[in-house]
């Protein structure tokens, strides 16, 4: 086993509930910290006694601690979500490709998130807002199931104050909700898009990403300017085991972020 594959011990510094099934953990290193990450990369988180899962890093590079936003959907993620401050978690990484938001310097940036997909996009958005003058319009379109399922709800106003056009739509409105109701692709039809100078970053359920990419292409954005974050069954994180293979790609190495131009032919192949 290579040194890269040995988890570093981190201690849970804080745990904050985002929704009924999603928490944000801030981890502090006990051992030598892992290498600095780039927005969009993931790490393997080891809940000792339960197992290891790939989780995208949701904190900004260089920020205090390592930040992960995790939804409880199985035994390992449940153990991670229930980790109390002070508990130890193993971390390997960071792995994979990044959003490359700096490529959009002088252009518009459109961030489209579905549900928990906002977590991997958050570091890219924070990076764009930290260098706001480098970009033209920064638009954030968020689709979520209900108003109560919105993650980072407490940050949206701050993003707006930093110059982002942030819009949220829900599939099902609660009584009293006065915001948008409908699918996130409908928001794409309502924002200004300069197709020749736009980089779109998209993350969410795979069907949502495909439909979102289709809507962006319909607005004239090229498939090479749409980037999506894919996940498969990442295990080793270092392109050794092959569990995360998608056609010619090993997503732990060649992804998770890839251009839609590259992904589109693969996403339409059944059983791939």
């Amino acid at each position: 086993m290579s040194l890269q594959a040995v988890p570093a011990r981190y201690r849970v510094a804080s745990r904050a509930a985002e929704t009924c099934d999603t928490v944000t953990l801030v981890l502090e290193p006990v051992d030598e910290p892992i290498a600095p990450h780039r927005p969009g990369q993931f790490a393997m988180l080891y809940a000792f006694g339960s197992g290891e899962v790939p989780i995208s890093i949701s904190g900004e590079p260089g920020g205090p601690g390592l930040v992960y936003t995790i939804r409880s959907v199985g035994a390992v993620t449940r153990a991670l979500c229930e980790a109390d401050p002070g508990e130890l978690i193993g971390v390997r990484g960071p792995y994979g490709t990044d959003w490359g938001v700096a490529d959009a310097a002088g252009q518009d940036v459109i961030v489209v998130a579905g549900g928990i997909g906002l977590a991997p996009l958050r570091p890219a958005l924070l990076a764009a807002l930290a260098a706001r003058s480098r970009y033209r319009r920064v638009t954030v379109l968020i689709g979520t199931r209900t108003p109560d399922d919105l993650v980072f709800a407490g940050e949206l106003d701050a993003w707006r104050e930093q110059g982002a056009d942030v819009r949220v739509t829900v599939d099902r409105a609660a009584v009293g909700w006065r915001g948008h109701v409908g699918v996130v692709t409908q928001l794409i039809d309502r924002v200004n898009v300069d197709p020749a100078a736009t980089l779109a970053l998209v993350c969410g359920p795979e069907v949502m990403m495909r439909l979102t990419a289709r809507s962006l292409l319909a607005r004239g954005v090229s498939s090479g300017s749409v980037r999506i974050s894919l996940e498969r069954n990442m295990r080793c994180g270092i392109a050794e085991c092959g569990h995360c293979q998608l056609g010619p790609l090993l997503l732990c190495r060649d992804g998770p972020v890839i251009s839609y131009q590259r992904a589109a032919p693969l996403l339409s192949v059944k059983e791939l």
């Binding site: 995790i70 939804r71 959907v73 199985g74 689709g143 099902r172 009584v175 909700w177 948008h180």
Partner: protein, 161 residues
């Protein structure tokens, strides 16, 4: 605001884009520009449906009356959308209610006048029918996607982000 609509302004609306200029000019004679303050109700469920609107800015919520509770919003429409299909077919009654969520601007079209124009100019009727069909298909597709409940928790056997 309740002003006549210049044909070029009407032609710019996404719903009518590409329509022959003569047809747009005819429609413009049946249209007025309206500004709806936040909270303005355009129509209520079960009342006669006589108009439609082409939204140019702001947002309108389609809602459902919930006795004893606040209205439940089922969809919001914004710039580029057409609001109001029920005037087109019997029983010519609104199936939902609609309210401006924020200050909203739109081109308001009188249904009876538009229908008379379509009767006397079938090519205009054909163009409008295609556009209403396309809008209905988009709404249907969006509704189907919402029915998929894409953001629900995946199977408990799967691990995710």
């Amino acid at each position: 605001m309740n002003d006549a609509v210049p044909a070029p302004a009407l032609a710019e609306h996404a719903f009518l884009r590409g329509m022959p200029a003569d047809d747009v000019a005819r429609l413009a004679r049946a249209a007025v520009a309206v500004r709806l303050p936040a909270g303005h109700r355009l129509f209520d469920e079960g009342t006669p449906a006589k108009k439609c609107w082409l939204v140019t800015s702001g947002h309108v919520a389609l809602d459902l009356n919930m006795p004893g509770r606040a209205n439940l919003i089922i969809e919001t429409l914004g710039r580029g959308d057409v609001l109001g299909f029920s005037w087109l077919s019997p029983p010519h009654q609104w199936q939902f209610g609609a309210e401006a969520v924020e200050s909203t601007e739109a081109f308001e079209l009188d249904g009876a006048t538009v229908m008379a124009l379509c009767d006397s100019h079938p090519e205009l009727g054909y163009q409008l029918a295609l556009r209403f069909l396309a809008a209905a298909v988009r709404r249907l597709q969006a509704t189907r996607i919402r029915l998929l409940d894409l953001y629900a928790a995946p199977s408990q056997s799967a691990e995710a982000r």
